[in-house]
Structure formats: C-alpha cells, structure tokens
Amino acid sequence: MGSSQIWTKIKSFFVNSIPFIAILILWESLGQLGIIKPVFLPAFSKVLVALYDITVSGKLFFHFTRTIYRMAVGYFSAVIFAILFGLAIGLSKPMRQFFNPLIAATYPLPKVSLLSLFIVWLGLGNPPIIAIIFASASYPILLNTITGILQVDKTLIKAAENLGANHRQVLTKVVFPGAIPIIFGGLRIGAAVSLIVVVAIEMYIASDGIGYLLAWATEFHLLELLFSLLIVIGIFGIILFKGLDLCESILIPWKK
C-alpha cells in the first residue's frame, strides 16, 4: 500500500466521523445547556461515565460475553445448517418443489413469536434463545444459498462441460464458487438478524446479557446506562460488519 493510499484512508475515516462528531456535540450541548432535561436525555459525558463504570466493574464484559455466546452458537449453527440445506434444495428440483411452499409459508412468521412455544419445548435458559436466533438467521442464509445456486450463469456450466468437466467437477468448480457471492449476502443479513434477535429476546427472558441489562436500565430509568449499552451495541455492529467485509475480501477476491 502506497503512502497516498494510507492518506486517502485516514482522510475517509475523518470524513466518515464527521456526522458522529456533529451528533455528539449537539447531544452534549443539549444536556449542558439544560435544553433537554437529563431524565429524557442525559448528557453524552454522563453516558461515557456510565460506560466507564460498567467496563471497569467487569459487568459489561460479563453480560457482553453471554450475549456473544448465544449469538455465536445460534448464528454459526444456522450458517452450517442453512448452507447445507440450501445446497440440497438449490441442486434438486424435487427438493425445491417440496420445500419451497413450506419456506414461503414460514419465512414471514416472526420467529420471536415462537418464544413461548420454544420455552415449553426447551425449558428456560439458553436453549430457547439460541433456537430463535438459529431460526431467524437461517432463513436469509437459506434463501440466498438457493438463489445463489440457481443464478449461476448457465453458459459457464456449459463452458466447463465443454472443457471436459464431469458432473461433480461442475458442482465444485463452477456452481459452488459461482454461488458464493450471493450466499455471502445471506451471511451478512443473518448476522444482523442474529444481533437484533439476541438483544430483543434477552430483554424478555434472560437473566444476563446485554438485552437483560437494557431491560433492567429501562425499568429503573437509568438512561445513562441505557445509552451506554446502545453505544456498545452500535460499536459491536460496526466491528461485526467490518469483520464480514474482511472475510468477504478473503473468500471472494475476484469480486469487483
């Protein structure tokens, strides 16, 4: 990387920061000038203090790791299941004919509404939470895998066959790599859905985790804490998506 490229990156980082800085300045001055009362919106500096407190007390780490654990187990099992199942459906017409109506019927159903049912089936604790993350994240990955397989350029398949590839080689060397960019789009949506779902469900039924802390802060009207948690979730979201960007550039180096 040349020095001019580094300079461009630094510049774009600052340009991207401008809206955040502007909002923070506005936020802080609204509180400091007493325009908005702290019971509605605490000053940003107060939020930072709260964030500092939960960080040094280890509380943030404790709850954050619980959340990450649930999210990771639910998401990664969804990734494995949905990609394998999606490949099977994408590659087989009878499978598609059988499963497509079922998928269409169950996809729009908010998986969170199954919470009570999952509690009856799986008991309290992590299992129903993970099950719902799994169910919610599976759909976008599943649908994108099926679409990814089906949209592979037919000419590329013909070209591979013409060059002597057998059925198995067409699958491994053309269909799978051709489907990866679309599958990756599903992985992205699945990750975002997992984060949304884990926090939302923890607010309902968990006794730890970021969602639990959020519900607790709301109940006792600890707005400083509430805002500091939202900042944590926001930062985690950015890290998550930057991480996915990195995976994508490694996995799909040919992408334009």
Binding site: G164, K173, W254
Partner: protein
C-alpha cells in the same frame, strides 16, 4: 480432423409452437480448414455450432468426424461470444481449467499455462481476474483456454462481437496468427461479412429461419491474410458476392419483425 454434417435438422418448441431452427444442413469441413458461417440473426448459426460441439443434439441427421486423432484433448472446444471465463479464477487458472479437470499433472499444467500466456501476450497478467482485463484481453484468455485443452476442432461463436471495431480488427489478425501455429479445424460463426471473408477459407451463408445452406463461397485469398488485403479488389469482390447473397435473407428477417 474432418467434420461431416449429414442432413442436420433442428427443431424446438417455444411457448408450445414448433420452431424449425435448421433444415437439412449437409456440409463437409476439411481437415485444418477455417470455415466461417455467415447468416442473419436467428438463422441457427450458433445452434449449428452447438450441434457440432455436442452441446446440443440434432433433431435428425448426423455429425461425424473423420481423420486421425493427433491430440490428447477432447474432439472440440468452444469459444463463446460472452467469453464465459470463470470470474473466480485468475487468467492462469482459467487457461488450465480443461487440463485440470482432465487430471493433467500440476507441473505439466503450469508449463502449458506459461506457454499459452506467452502466446496471447498476457505475461504479467497471469494472476489477474477476468474483470480486471479489457474485453480483448478476456477473449484472448478464452481462446487460450480452448486451445490449451488441445482439441482437434475449434468452434467459435461470434467471439469478437462484443469488442469495439479497432480491437476487433486487431484480434482478427492475431487470431489468424495463433491459428496458423496450430492448424486446427475451425468453424467460426459471425454476422460480419468482412470478418467472414478475412478469416475463412470458405464462407457458408445460411438463410433466415429455418437455417439452410444458401451459398458456399470459396475465399481465394492467400495466407497469411493481412489487413491490407481488406482493401484489395479480390476482397471486395468476394465481400460483394457474400453481401448480395445475404441481403435478401436480411430483408426477410427484418420484414418478419
């Protein structure tokens, strides 16, 4: 390798209607001949190519090949209009695809790839992905990929149609240079009269749908062909002949639309 087509017919069904694409095409392509196929769009030129290549089946009639197999590769290899390069493979990986799937050992593949990259003058671009190349470069990679598979016959489906006029002209000459080194039998489909005459030993003119052989023109120009020949009297004479033959067919096609 000599190709013999014996009353090839092809029909297919589109929205419940029977469409006749090709009608009793009988034709012999001599060993190491460069045959160009010229016809209005919808005359079944590409279909004819696909039938020779075994990518599609004829409804009736027969394709046979005569002559001694000299190469280790498949009977025929296709060069596609839209290049059909694998976007996830680098230039080098695209070129050796055929050898890879046929189980040629890696060191052999690599030296073959190097030879063909040199041949198409893309040294330094081995590890580029197709989308990083210009259209002309991509089509050179596609040509190398087919040749590297060492087929007896090269089937080309309007391979230069997507290029701008200047690149196209340069590629025509380069294509001839590469072909002269390999002396494969070539069937080359195009809708450009100049291209058909400049490249071909003979030009087959197809009628509009259903495609039938309307005329076979022998191109009496010496090889190697050059761009200067395109300004010669002989070239114009042959082109005019082809043009007058295809003109009625073009009019028929346009009046149908």
């Amino acid at each position: 390798m000599k190709i013999v087509l014996d009353s090839i017919c092809k029909e297919f069904f589109s929205r419940g209607l029977r469409v006749e694409a090709l009608k009793s095409i009988s034709l012999e392509v001599e060993d190491s001949e460069f045959l160009t196929v010229l016809g209005p769009s919808g005359s079944g030129k590409s279909t004819l190519l696909f039938i020779i290549g075994g990518i599609e089946k004829a409804s009736s009639g027969e394709v046979s090949f005569h002559g001694e197999r000299r190469s280790s590769g498949p009977m025929s290899a296709m060069v596609w209009q839209q290049y059909a390069l694998f976007p996830w493979r680098t230039v080098k990986e695209n070129i050796i695809f055929g050898n890879e799937v046929r189980g040629i050992p890696k060191h052999e593949r690599n030296s073959l790839a190097d030879r063909f990259i040199e041949l198409i003058q893309l040294k330094g671009f081995e590890n580029h992905y197709p989308h990083e190349l210009s259209g002309g470069m991509q089509q050179r990679v596609a040509l190398a990929r087919s040749l590297c598979n060492d087929p007896e016959i090269l089937l080309m489906d309007e391979p230069l149609a997507a290029l701008d006029a200047q690149t196209r002209t340069l590629m025509q000459i380069e294509l001839l240079k590469i072909w002269s080194q390999f002396q494969k039998t070539v069937v080359y489909v195009t809708h450009s009269i100049e291209e058909a005459v400049l490249l071909g030993d003979r030009v087959v003119i197809l009628t509009s749908r259903p495609g039938q052989i309307k005329e076979m023109i022998k191109v009496e120009l010496e090889r190697p062909r050059t761009l200067d020949m395109m300004r010669s009297q002989a070239f114009h004479k042959i082109s005019d002949l082809a043009w007058s033959s295809i003109q009625d067919e073009l009019l028929k096609t346009s009046s149908k639309k």
